[in-house]
């Protein structure tokens, strides 16, 4: 490739690795300290949790729970993303509608979503529908807000450039507006990813007999602290890894201004 490289400099990559290791060490240290403080009955030690987890992943029952969570999460994320991006684009392009909707959305975003759980349970009953709905109510609003803000904040000279090149409205949206707002949307999706996962897990705790969220509360009610801690450990590792992958994709493929 000619010209400057697009990968971060080696020093940058190395410091990333160091940051990761330091964070992990601090987290494990804090966990161990918490375990020492709260005792065996509240939280298992890192080592015990890891040992239990390795036993757990060998059972078919565990994987059927994990699959249930994954199914609900995939559905909820797809709905959150499609709805959030679509709504954000429309509201951002229609200035007036956007100005009306934005404070409403921010208000909705701020209210504690737990207050909606009874309503959702009444509508969807127990099971997959409710889990997905829990995920969506957490994930959709941040994705909408990020998209809306990106569209409203687009550099006006880019749109003027499109007009100067006599692009049709459809071409302007496809070849200028969409790529211009993509970085913000990707950030919105990253935030939406975590919040949707949170919503699905909470949904499983309240409204299901299946899934990892259920395993967590089940462990508590059966005084099986090892199970609860092990499942949480796995979720944290998966979430951090997924976030890392999304961040990497972002840095690798998105050229921020």
């Amino acid at each position: 490739m000619s010209g400057p490289a697009t990968l971060p400099a080696p020093e940058a990559r190395q410091s990333w690795l160091i940051d990761g290791v330091v964070t992990a060490v601090i987290a494990i240290g804090a966990w161990q300290a918490l375990h020492a403080y709260a005792g065996e009955a509240a939280i298992a030690s890192p080592l015990k949790a890891l040992r239990h987890l390795s036993g757990l992943v060998a059972t078919a029952g565990f994987w059927s729970h994990a699959t249930a969570t994954l199914t609900a999460f995939a559905g909820a994320l797809a709905i959150s993303a499609a709805l959030g991006i679509g709504l954000g684009l429309v509201l951002g392009l229609r200035r007036f509608a956007g100005e009306v909707a934005e404070p409403i959305l921010s208000g909705l975003y701020a209210i504690p979503k737990v207050t909606l759980y009874p309503v959702i349970l009444l509508i969807f009953g127990l099971g997959l529908g409710a889990k997905v709905a829990f995920g969506v109510i957490h994930g959709v609003i941040p994705i909408t807000l990020f998209t809306l803000t990106a569209v409203k904040g687009i550099n006006p000279v880019l749109i003027r450039t499109a007009r100067a090149m006599r692009l049709s409205q459809a071409d302007t949206i496809r070849t200028v507006l969409a790529p211009a707002v993509l970085p913000e949307i990707v950030t919105g999706l990253r935030v939406g990813f975590s919040l949707t996962l949170l919503g699905v897990l909470v949904g499983e705790m309240f409204a299901s007999q299946r899934g990892l969220g259920f395993l967590i509360v089940n462990g508590i009610s059966l005084h099986n602290v090892k199970q609860t801690t092990a499942v949480i450990l796995m979720l944290v590792v998966v979430a951090v890894a997924a976030n890392g992958v999304l961040l990497w994709l972002d840095r690798r493929f998105i050229h921020r201004p």
């Binding site: 003027r160 090149m165 006599r166 790529p179 921020r256």
Partner: protein, 281 residues
Amino acid sequence: MAVVAFADPGGGMPATARETHAALRGVTRVYGRLAALGPLDLDLAKGEFFSVVGPSGCGKSTLLDVLSGLGRPNAGTVTFEGAPVDGVPDGVGIVFQEDASFPWLSVRDNVAFGLRRAGMDGAEIARRVDYALGFMGLSDFAGAYPAQLSGGMRQRVCIARTLVTQPRLILLDEPFGALDQQTRLLMGDELLRLWRETGATVLLITHALDEAAMLSDRIGVMSSRPGRFIEIVETGWPRERDSRIVADERFGQITARLWSHLREESLKAIGKSSSRKTSVP
């Protein structure tokens, strides 16, 4: 409005004798209650190099907006190649004052953008883009992204992106604003060469008086806001010219002439007036 000619008879081009390429008649532009431009008349002769100088905020970018068809005048008419302007006409290329490079595209893809949208054949696009990149001194950065470039380089990307479409009327709004003086002079030479080779009409907005004096056939000096032409200076340079004419004695005369008008207007634009200053004992 005075018209001052520094022309050698038979030297440059007698702008008045030429076919009109674009024209403004009684054009005004108002933003809310702020009168930004005019009333103003302008005839751009086909193939001429016209520069606009004027104090900051006097309405130069607004003039470009209206002339290009991006904005409508509140009064008056705009014509390009004989037809009324409504939206940017085919054949008009614009380089904005702000950086308008697309951050998600490489330099090469930025420059090729307009040609791809127009559905041009790939080999022809590659040929034109390579030429424009070389022309703008960007060949080594074809694969880079705007975030990796300096402000002046990004502006050159925007110039190249406009030039590859081979407009018949090129509108440039302070395109060399982010460049150092040496590069600016050399880019001026390149622009002159391109202008000669393509026969395009050029309207260049600039705040650099020497740049206007060196590049132009005619220079429109604008008043403070609302901008009007207070003088049109004809330089009388031959069509074959380059930055070495700064050594010509007429170059100094033209620059001095521009400054004598602009000093007064610029003082007004920043809220002072030279008469007040001279009244101090």
